[in-house]
């Protein structure tokens, strides 16, 4: 019983001395809430994109209308895939820049990332218009619906990413992005890379696999 008593005393003492300083990142896991949250979100996105990709795989042989082989322009898509891939590089350089406190380069790299992303989207829009002209409308076949929904959905993700990047540039220009908020950039970066990773998957599975 005496044992128990002392245990209780020490508990009380511990409560009282529990530090109450405001230290960021001082979490149980050592990872900030926002970053952990972003990774959780990305994990759940795997299931969302997985569903759409699965649907595409199931429906990629149309009963009528153009087939994937007939319609895809691999050299073109390869180029735009390459553009998106390189945007990951500029993104990571941006994160590296802000951690170094180099705000000038931060803005340059983020701007470059957004630009590359926009190029990719432009390419996608162009690709879509070509496909439609060649007779692959959204409602043409099961393949067309699945294809446009999957890639369009990915495109929406990229577009959201571009908007976030632009917002970062604005924030940075107004001086609202100091180094201690570099994590914001990193987290937008995580999202951006994830969208890229999804495209890596789509490029291989949708475009290259015959």
């Amino acid at each position: 019983m005496a044992e128990a008593l002392t245990a209780r005393e020490s508990i009380k003492a511990a409560d009282a001395h529990a530090p109450s300083a405001h230290i960021e990142h001082d979490t149980n896991t050592g990872i900030s809430n926002t970053k952990l949250g972003m990774w959780l979100f990305l994990a759940s996105e795997c299931l969302l994109f997985g569903g759409l990709i699965t649907t595409y795989l199931l429906y990629k042989r149309p009963l009528e209308g153009p087939t994937p082989e007939e319609i895809f322009d691999i050299p073109f898509t390869s180029t735009s895939s390459f553009v998106l891939l390189m945007s990951s590089l500029t993104m990571v350089l941006a994160v590296s820049a802000i951690e170094r406190g180099d705000h000038e380069r931060l803005r340059i790299w983020i701007g470059a990332t957004a630009l590359l992303g926009a190029t990719f989207i432009a390419g996608q829009i162009y690709e879509f218009t070509v496909f439609v002209r060649e007779g692959l409308g959204f409602t043409t076949s099961r393949f067309s619906s699945a294809f446009y929904t999957l890639t369009g959905f990915h495109g929406v993700h990229v577009t959201i990413g571009i908007i976030m990047l632009m917002s970062l540039v604005l924030l940075s220009l107004r001086g609202k992005l100091p180094e201690h908020r570099s994590e914001t950039v990193e987290i937008v970066g995580l999202y951006w890379h994830f969208v890229d990773v999804v495209w890596i998957f789509i490029f291989a599975v949708v475009y290259l696999v015959p």
Binding site: R8, A18, D26, N28, G30, L40, S44, G51, T55
Partner: protein, 681 residues
């Protein structure tokens, strides 16, 4: 290697944001306000929890009235209360409402209110996102139900199989409402899941390792992981359906080679984890209540925890048991039959451990305890009928009959809902500062047990004797008359027991003035949420307790000798925390933006159905809301304090302000405290 980092990626640079002084709407509402307005802008997890509960009970009455309509229609052969069309809408909306707008949000209510208290946190990780989740759920639910006034509800059943959910077969807008409404509530659930998982992982009180967390918190964690991964699957399916219904895509157009089973797979990949995420919160609640009133620790804490995790895992590998007769082939059928059966093992561990918890105890039959025992027995009935479904050949006789209806009401009502009722009675004093009347509570229990069994037990026989589900009428001569009558009578008894519960809320409140306040710990309970005053003060804990074992609060009151004898070592009054003014505690400020942002979603959804211009309006509200959200200053400047200058560091609106709880426990924190102190100073 240059990339190895010994420090976190984000540097604490030592500079301070100048406090942003925005004008007009960008000012955050004042914290500490009261009145109805404070509820609209609150980011307090407790208020949000209460609102979840209140909204869910409101929807429960709607769903319940729909259930009563079903039961009256089926009272006798060739019922004439509802037309076939109306009946189909009513049972679809009944199932949808009960699942998405009642059981899930009640789980969210308990998780929101209790989990931060159980882990000793000030709030959840992202208080504003939490508020957003609630409003999105509420608006999604209202949107869904607004279909009744705008051309009729959905009529495809709650699992809404393709191609019957297509425009050709369901030309009204009902299914569009169903689809878009559930996408909105899905967004709410997903945001909530991220939020609560981060909270559990990151914001536990010092000393609380994962294996010292209360079981309810554990079950919340598992539940939220299930949501995190299950909701996107449903959303994917719903996106396909939306494309089909609104933009003529071919995902479920058989003429263009679509396979209707695609919908079934996606729906049930979501749907089965869904049923477990509906039951696990209730399991968590009774795991708190049974030890409290048995005056004994939970039997086999690690087994209970791991079986919960196991249920979460296995729940992903059984979905096709809903499709045994849909033509998936004998190999798939066999596989899924076997995986399904063995899910009974971890569930059984829980049931038997609960019985063992009671064994040798000194049981106090309070209302929460009665409802908990109700769960243990009634869920077992439902679980066992579940096992009889998992025997695939037998299921070909049972599926889509009332035998299934019996199964899932036993697990959902007899399991989840009994658990929630136990939770209501147990936590009511903590939340509202007065106890619910025990006498009424017990009457409530017995009446509910009676009504529940009268309603749903006969459905076993109805099903085995061939009554199909989802039929608005049946004929005389099939032998269905008697048991349908019993079920209908039961449903009204059940309704009266719910009415009694609602009455009890108000009756006990009016009587509470003349009774002594329940105090922090009315039940002599075990976990730390009972350490703080009732009703919970806004700041939760002051100071944050340091946790040293499971049932920490209990062991502040009692010590255990070596031979398992329990002795009191401190008076409860000395252990519980006193109400403090909480002035020095920094709480996130309220915000307008969560409700604004959430409001944009149903508007956009109406737009998709009726007029694309409305979509634009909704889109503008959403985008505007997002910008308001992001640009909103971290805090109500006037409420900031000067105890230390780092308050305004809160980098992402109010959401980081709660990271102040310190202590990194089960994962050794790699931060070097000395360096940290240096850079901060």
């Amino acid at each position: 290697m240059a990339l190895t980092e010994s420090r976190p990626l984000a540097l604490t640079s030592g500079d301070v944001d100048t406090v942003y002084k925005p004008a007009g709407v960008f000012t955050r509402p004042k914290s500490g306000a009261t009145g109805w307005k404070s509820w609209l802008t609150t980011v307090d997890h407790k208020k949000i929890g209460i609102m979840y509960g209140a909204a869910a009970i409101f929807f429960f009455v709607i769903g319940g009235i729909e259930a009563l309509l079903i039961r009256v229609q089926l009272w006798a052969p060739r019922g004439t209360l509802l037309s076939a069309n109306l009946y189909n809408q009513v049972f679809t909306m009944h199932g949808t409402t009960m699942i998405f707008l009642v059981v899930m949000p009640i789980g969210a209510a308990f998780a929101n209110y209790l989990m931060p208290l159980q882990i000793g946190a000030r709030d959840v990780a992202y208080p504003r996102i939490n508020a957003f989740s609630f409003w999105a759920f509420l608006f999604g639910g209202v949107f869904l139900n607004s279909s009744w006034l705008l051309g009729g509800g959905a009529d495809g059943g709650w699992f809404n199989y393709a191609p019957n959910n297509g425009v050709i077969f369901s030309p009204t807008n009902g299914i569009d409402f169903w689809n878009l409404g559930l996408i909105i509530t899905g967004v709410a659930s997903l945001a909530g899941a991220v939020n609560l998982i981060v909270t559990v992982l990151n914001m536990r009180a010092p000393g609380m390792t994962l294996m010292k967390m209360p079981i309810f918190t554990w079950m919340t964690l598992v539940t939220q992981f299930l949501l995190l991964f299950a909701i996107p699957v449903l959303t994917a399916a719903q996106i396909l359906l939306m494309m089909d219904r609104l933009f003529d895509a071919n995902f479920f157009n058989v003429a263009k080679g679509a396979n209707p089973l695609l919908w079934q797979h996606l729906f049930w990949i979501f749907g089965h984890p869904e049923v477990y995420l509906m039951i696990l919160p209730a399991f968590g609640i009774v795991s708190e209540i049974l030890p409290t009133f048995a005056r004994k620790p939970i039997f086999g804490y690690p087994f209970i925890v791991f079986s919960g995790i196991a249920i979460g895992f296995m729940g992903w590998g059984v979905w096709a048991h809903h499709m045994f007769v849909s033509g998936i082939g004998p190999i798939t059928v066999t596989t899924f039959a076997l995986t399904t059966m063995f899910i009974a093992v971890p569930t059984g561990v829980k049931i038997l451990n609960w019985v063992a918890t009671m064994w040798g105890g000194k049981l106090q039959f309070t209302s929460p305890m009665l409802f908990s025992i109700g769960l243990v027995t009634m869920f077992t009935i439902g679980g066992l009928s579940g096992v009889t479904h998992s025997v695939a050949p037998a299921d070909t006789q049972q599926t889509d009959t009332y035998y299934i209806v019996a199964h899932f009401h036993y697990v959902l009502f007899g399991g989840a809902f009994f658990g929630f009722m136990a939770g209501f009675y147990f936590y009511w004093p903590k939340v509202f500062g007065y106890l619910l009347n025990e006498k009424l509570g017990k009457a409530n229990f017995w009446l509910m047990l009676l009504g529940f069994n009268l309603t749903f037990a006969p459905m076993h026989i109805l099903g085995l004797q061939g009554m199909s589900r989802r039929i608005y009428t049946y004929d005389a001569g099939y032998g269905f008359e008697v048991w349908n009558k019993v079920a209908t009578i039961g449903a009204f008894i059940l309704a009266s027991s719910i009415a009694l519960f609602i009455f009890n809320m108000f009756y006990s409140k009016s009587k509470a003035k003349n009774l002594p306040a329940p105090g922090a710990d009315p039940w002599d309970a075990r976990t730390i949420e009972w350490m703080i005053p009732s009703p919970t003060p806004e700041y939760n804990f002051d100071p944050i307790p340091t946790v040293s074992r499971v049932d920490d609060f209990w062991y502040r009151k009692y010590g255990e000798t070596k031979d398992g004898k329990l002795v009191r070592i401190a008076a409860t009054d000395d252990v519980v925390q006193k109400l403090s003014d909480g002035k020095h505690i920094h709480l996130p400020s309220p915000s307008y933006w969560p409700i604004v942002l959430a409001f944009g979603m149903p508007i956009a959804a109406y737009g998709l159905i009726f007029n694309m211009w409305l979509c634009l309006v909704g889109g503008i509200i959403i985008v505007g809301g997002l910008y308001g959200w992001v640009l909103e200053p971290p805090d109500d400047p006037e409420a900031s304090h000067d105890d230390d200058g780092t308050d305004t560091h809160a980098s992402d609106g109010g959401d980081a302000a709660v990271t102040e709880i310190s202590g990194s426990v089960d994962q050794p924190n790699e931060l070097d405290p000395a360096k940290e102190a240096e850079t901060v100073g």
